[in-house]
Symmetry: C2
Subunit: 659 residues, 2 copies
């Protein structure tokens, strides 16, 4: 039944050799990997306005400058990352750059930061998408969290089906969103040019400033501006997704990825700039708590404000019931929810690379039935879902944990790129190439300084608002990954074969465990004898005298040619008694091998397990800790297990040795 | 850590040979097994008054007659059951009587009824006990359910520690309760004799009759009286506990149990009669919903009425702050909660007997560390706790599910006893003994008729009030137990050895599963070679060409004398590929034995499991369904597993064969 459900959700398994078919053309790769940075224009402007609104309407004059700073930063980051994807087309992205140039520890910091940020991308994007759905249908507000979790589940299912299909599905809404927003901006500016500037529904509302935010000057004003800038930097998130996804591009991978990056950057800047300008002209008001809005209609404790993009769409296209309003909201919600897909592509890929480098459990490196890294997808969905649940789906709360990780990885990878060019310049002699390298180095050095500065600003301005959790989480992840690596290294060293050949044990002692004399026991005794061991013991644990007497009678009756050995168990602890017997045997003959035969019966239905003691299972687990022992399960298939046997024999194709 | 916690709660294991020490003297057995019927006087009167109060104060004149009927029934049941414990001292009680004389189906009906009733005993008694605590400390009302569940947990822990200790603990409060109630009755009647009759706090309150219960005549009046009588019959519950507990008595078991039964009956009748008479004289008012009380002080929606026994204690001993009031409440609460202990003794014992007869999973027949039937205790606690939680700890709601089971088993066992005497009379010739048997038969026949009648009355009057759940549960249990028995019988038949000796397989093919060439693999190959099989295959599943190439290189480098066999796995399904290989091998040589060697590494810490694929485990489970296969685990203990090995080797005492 579980199998049937899995087939329904995930689809039938794909052959390994279909892996290469799953590569993405640029026009598909753009929506798959760039939906995150593109979609973030839907909330970046809003977050800037929200912070500035803490001081009422007084500081809105800062907004254009903050918007401009974000645009410059965006341009710098895109230019820097175009260098990364060209120089490191293998898909490690920032992680690979930092590892190669700054050493494994720096790489691991980047990896931890990126993992956290992929999770936040899913949480923030889905929450913002649902926010826009609720802007169009305010009655859905009470079901905010379940709707959020439903979308996470949907994304999980889509990604478990595999990269290619999800790419195709996600291409359409991304393009619809881009077209919609561009239409919004163009229509808005045309109306402005004709003197009919759009006016937002909230334009007439006033804002009550928060206590402590009135009449700021000097440092405190700068701090507010920097905090608004930090919030606006959410427009930057997701830029690294392309650099981690290079292997999924069609060749020439590096060049195609760089071009996709440029297209993404251009679109982002146009859309973010346009929306911010329009929002200021249309006088959109947006605050953290609707009760601070003087003029807000309805109950400010239970109803939500419309998002900035919703207010603009309504203002530009003629109200909240015009078809274009619904189109923009639908496209925005869709691209936001699908932006989470960027992380659903990036997180499992990075996880699998880290698993390959033995920093994460190797299950993350296993491809599932549909060639996707299923375990990474499930892990991401689980953690992001938990965060959404914990923060009740609030974009503003979740966004505080965001972008700290992005800028950590931005900064470290740009520093790494500078060292990369330094290294190359040491050996390169061709003047034209040296010139290009010099130019690249300048871009990356500038990027490193700029993103480093932003990292400091973001950490300071957001620390007390929730970012401290990330400041804790990244080191924990770092230490955990180092620990996992150390474990795998230690195990690998322990398991490395000695140069010599194999040493055979001198003698084999077979011990058959007997509880009653039924057919599984007789089969186990027969199998044990067939291996011709040096000694053969039939061992039973005496719990009650009656059981022992009965067993001895049966033994004599069936004329079993193996003598029965009895150990007492005054505490009714079968497992312990057997373990002590085996341990003693091992101590007497440490160089010999003890083969413990356990007769088991195999049942077919789950509830039948409840009707049989699990002592054999427990005993097997404990025996594996003993030295010089091998544990042999001799199964007896009960009638009820036949259905399963048939299923097992009726597998897709016969396996034949290929040589 | 789990071990340490278990030791703390349960205590250290007891040796099997200490089992006989755990027998109970009469003075201990009385409180252990009779606390249930004794304690039920604390709510039986209350339930009678509650039903009669549905018609306001008009029908209270029926109360004395109903009380009398309950007393007669009590006497009849006690007399009947004295015959049972004498005739069947082995502890099967009603179950054994019904099985022996009426056949296994009747016995199974009784068993199902008793299991349900033991569960209800725990739920009702604990709920009533907490009710009396809340009567003394009304502020605890909001924490009713958690307090209930806490007591269930406490009882569970006590019983897991073993019979003897729990007996001693429970003796004192039972005796305190008996003394307290007798003192209450004597003081009350002395005051009446001196013309200073006690007056309950509720004596002046009036009761609003429920609609449809005013001016009843004829059949409807009789129905109300019968419903009140049904509720009063809760005083009867637990009478069968002694008959199920006979083996725990000191010899002569039957006679001691019969005497304990008589003492219990006498005490029950005195206490129930006294309390009912006092309650009527002191004019105690008690209703289902306090809002029907005209004159109830305080908020009738959130506050609870005092129990009948609390009102009497307050009236007789001078108010709700007198020391004797608190003493009576404490003793009542204690005995009620400990009455649940009757079920904690009876349920696991009956469960173990049913398990021995293969009607329930055999785990219920296993004695735990402290010689108690731990699994039965835990099962009981779980189900009773769930019921208390579902019914929010309301005595009146829970009591509706009660006593249907009791009277089912009463009736069937008394009918069985009649047939028992009929059978004995057919062969008995001694006139004195025949006379005794005739007398016994009359007692049991009368008991059967009376309890049968009560069963019909209870079913009719309580059906719509919740008893229908029991009418559903008992048949479901019956069918389930029959199904379990059928499963065990079928398995036993399948496992019965053929008369011939053992047939050795003609040849052995060893297959060693190889993923990489590390020390566990080399050890598995060495062990496999040491058993000198007829053929030896090193099998690997090809997932990626690189892995295969690497493995082949290592193979050559270490000069392994076994050739490597390769099967393809286009769907990356290792388990399926191995299974198909083995299935093909088996089809080619069906009479041969295939020994599959699986190298495994054993880790010591729980989290290390997460770092290694569980594919070996999955594969082992699936291989057990294949015919002609034995599965051999070759463990390699990693460094981290040593702590566990030491623990395993450092067990209490060395196991030596006793012959």
């Amino acid at each position: 039944m579980f199998d049937a459900l899995k087939r329904l959700v995930v689809g039938r398994p794909l052959r390994s050799d279909r892996l290469s078919e799953q590569l993405l053309a640029k026009r598909i790769a753009l929506p798959v990997f760039a939906s995150d940075p593109l979609s973030s224009v839907a909330y970046a402007t809003q977050e800037i306005l929200l912070v500035l609104a803490l001081g009422g309407l007084a500081y809105l004059y800062l907004a254009p400058w903050i918007g401009l700073a974000v645009i410059v930063l965006l341009a710098v980051v895109v230019l820097s990352y175009r260098q990364v994807v060209r120089a490191y087309p293998s898909g490690g992205g920032s992680y690979e750059v930092a590892t190669t140039n700054l050493g494994p520890s720096a790489g691991l910091v980047v990896a931890a930061a990126l993992l956290v940020d992929y999770i936040m991308t899913v949480a923030v994007s889905v929450a913002a998408g649902v926010d826009n759905i609720i802007s169009a249908f305010p009655d859905l507000n009470p079901w905010r969290v379940p709707i959020n979790l439903g979308f996470v589940a949907l994304l999980t299912a889509m990604n478990l089906r595999g990269v290619r299909e999800s790419g195709r599905i996600f291409a359409v809404p991304t393009y619809l969103f881009v077209l919609g927003v561009l239409a919004l901006i163009v229509t808005g500016f045309v109306r402005i040019a004709f003197g009919d500037a759009p006016v937002a529904e909230s334009a007439s509302w006033s804002i009550m400033p928060e206590p402590g935010h009135v009449g700021l000057t000097g440092l405190t004003l700068i701090f507010l501006a920097l905090r608004a800038f930090s919030s606006g930097c959410t427009a930057l998130t997701g830029a690294e997704a392309i650099s981690n996804g290079v292997p999924a591009f069609k060749p020439p991978k590096g060049e195609n990825a760089a071009r996709t990056m440029a297209a993404m950057g251009l679109l982002s800047i146009t859309m973010f700039g346009g929306i911010t300008a329009l929002a200021l002209i249309a006088k959109v008001r947006y605050v953290e708590n609707p009760c601070d809005l003087v003029g807000f209609p309805g109950d400010c404790t239970s109803e939500a404000q419309r998002t900035v993009i919703a207010q603009l769409a309504a203002a530009v296209f003629g109200g909240t019931s015009s078809p274009m309003f619904f189109f923009i909201q639908a496209a925005t919600a869709l691209i936001l929810i699908l932006a989470a897909n960027t992380a659903f592509n990036g997180f499992p890929l990075l996880g699998s690379i880290l698993a390959e480098h033995r920093y994460l459990p190797r299950q993350l490196h296993t491809r599932g039935d549909r060639l996707a890294f299923s375990n990474g997808i499930l892990l991401l969905a689980l953690v992001a879902g938990a965060l959404i649940y914990a923060y009740k789906g609030s974009v503003t709360s979740l966004i505080q944990l965001y972008i700290l990780g992005v800028f950590t990885s931005f900064t470290l990878s740009q520093v790494g790129m500078v060292r990369h060019w330094n290294r190359l310049l040491r050996t390169e002699r061709d003047p034209a190439r040296r010139r290009r390298m010099h130019r690249s180095r300048i871009i990356n050095a500038f990027g490193a300084c700029f993103t480093g500065l932003v990292l400091v600003i973001v950490t300071i301005t957001k620390f007390t608002h929730g970012a401290y959790l990330v400041v804790i989480a990244i080191p924990i992840l770092f230490v955990m990954m180092r620990g996992i690596r150390r474990h795998y290294d230690r195990v690998a060293e322990e398991l490395t074969p000695d140069p010599g050949g194999m040493v055979l044990p001198s003698r084999i002692h077979a011990v058959v465990l007997v509880s009653r004399l039924h057919r599984p026991t007789i089969r186990a005794l027969a199998y044990a004898r067939a291996t011709r061991p040096d000694t053969l013991t039939a061992l039973t644990v005496a719990i009650t005298p009656e059981e022992v007497r009965q067993l001895e009678a049966e033994w004599d009756e069936h004329d079993i040619p193996v003598p029965l050995t009895l150990v007492d168990s005054p505490y009714r602890d079968i497992t312990g008694s057997v373990l002590r017997f085996i341990a003693r045997l091992h101590k007497e003959q440490p160089r010999d091998l003890i083969a413990v035969y356990i007769p088991e019966y195999v049942v077919g239905r789950w509830w039948e397990h409840l009707l049989h003691n699990q002592s054999a299972l427990r005993l097997k687990a404990r025996l594996l800790f003993q030295r010089g022992v091998m544990v042999i399960s001799v199964p007896w298939q009960l009638e009820s297990s036949h259905a399963d046997t048939r299923r097992a024999e009726d597998l897709r194709e016969p396996a034949r040795p290929t040589r």
